[in-house]
């Protein structure tokens, strides 16, 4: 379709013409669009997708402890002027990766789907 001249992707802005990961595909097509009246719609039980309501912040002690652990591991001697690559390579920062991700996981109930796990680890 090539409508717009797209700039090249940088490390702070990635562009894609189409969703690639399953989560992005779901985000585009699930529960979005023209809704056909319920009285003629056949319910498709096979589509058992548990959508995550990300607004629900699980205020659990477990979450708090993870945050605490993450900041305790932060090396504050690394200043904001340090280069991004330097921060990424730092051993301490490596350990703290994934706390926000961890919180998100907590909000994903009943993730029993092997395929979606595979999808995530592929990233």
């Amino acid at each position: 379709m090539a409508v717009a001249t797209r700039g090249t992707s940088s490390n702070y802005l990635q562009r894609a013409p189409s969703p690639s990961g399953l989560a992005d595909v779901i985000n585009v097509i699930l529960d979005k669009g023209l809704v056909v009246d319920a009285y003629v719609r056949v319910s498709v039980i096979g589509i058992e997708v548990i959508t995550i309501d990300a607004r629900i912040v699980i205020a659990s002690v477990d979450t708090y402890l993870r945050f605490a652990e993450a900041v305790n591991r932060l090396d504050l001697t690394q200043t904001e002027t340090a280069g991004l690559a330097e921060l990424r390579d730092g051993g301490s920062s490596e350990k703290t990766k994934g706390v926000l991700e961890g919180v998100k996981d907590k909000m994903t109930p009943g993730d029993g789907d092997k395929e979606s796990k595979k999808e995530r680890s592929r990233k």
């Binding site: 700039g7 013409p17 097509i29 003629v40 719609r41 498709v44 912040v57 979450t63």
Partner: protein, 255 residues
């Protein structure tokens, strides 16, 4: 999220509906449909629906079908304006499809098509660099900074302090997310016709869909570039599109 890929098929026959289009000789999508089946056009006056006739033995939903559904939408969208249906829209018969949609809601559908003509959807996500976010929060809050000092290296003794510390940080992260999300949304909305923000959580500062005139995609892209450049390195952005306007169809087709 989980998909029960091995669930028993429950649809016996029926018609899977991808989207409503104008019946103006539009080409059929050249991609395979749900279950690898053919995509057909069901015409009804000046409207038509893109469908797949599901087998009588039943349709078993596969993950691959999510991509096929999107593939049909994208292929049809490349040929003209469409009103996409959500994934998994199945009606019993062609009669139902006409009564409940093509004929029954003809005027609002035509209106929706007209309102979405020449418009595309851009999905944008802004994601935090976690270390930078936490560093900024520690640096900006004395209570957090001192609790952090106190709890570093403490074992079971510091349990309640650590809970308190985490609680404070979680609250700061949420407040920050709300501020950042609102700012990013309004900055990008200026280059768009409409916006639908999604709930953000985890590493997301913002997630939303923007309705953009095809003719001003470059302006939107430039605005995105500006915002992303200004917000880095705390945030990095992901933009997907131009997509069919799935997030805007329900409201633009009079619902």
């Amino acid at each position: 999220m989980s998909i029960a890929a091995d669930a028993e098929p429950i649809t016996k026959g029926g018609i899977y509906v991808y989207a409503v289009v104008r019946n103006d000789g539009a080409k059929l999508p050249r991609v395979e449909g749900i279950g690898g089946s053919r995509v057909d056009l069901v015409p009804c006056g000046d409207l038509a629906a893109l469908v797949t006739r599901l087998p009588e033995r039943g349709w078993k939903v596969k993950r691959r079908d999510l991509e096929r559904h999107l593939g049909v939408l994208e292929s049809a969208f490349a040929d003209g304006t469409i009103l996409p249906c959500p994934f998994g829209t199945v009606v019993e018969s062609v009669d139902d499809l006409e009564d409940a949609l093509l004929a029954g809601r003809r005027s609002e559908l035509l209106d929706g098509l007209k309102r979405l003509d020449g418009r595309v959807q851009m999905n944008v996500k802004a994601l935090y660099d976690e270390d930078r976010l936490l560093r900024a929060i520690v640096a900006s809050d004395r209570e957090i900074a001192s609790l952090r000092e106190r709890t570093r290296g403490t074992g079971a003794d510091g349990y309640y302090d650590r809970v308190r510390l985490g609680e404070l940080i979680a609250a700061r992260v949420e407040a920050r997310r709300e501020d950042d999300g609102r700012r990013l949304e309004s900055a990008l909305a200026r280059a768009a016709i409409d916006v639908v923000a999604e709930p953000a959580g985890g590493e997301l500062a913002f997630s939303g869909s923007f309705l953009v005139a095809r003719s001003s995609l470059e302006e939107f892209d430039a605005a995105l570039e500006d915002v992303a450049a200004a917000e880095q390195p705390l945030l990095r952005f992901e933009a997907i599109g131009p997509l069919p306007p799935t997030s805007f169809t329900a409201s633009y087709a009079g619902m």
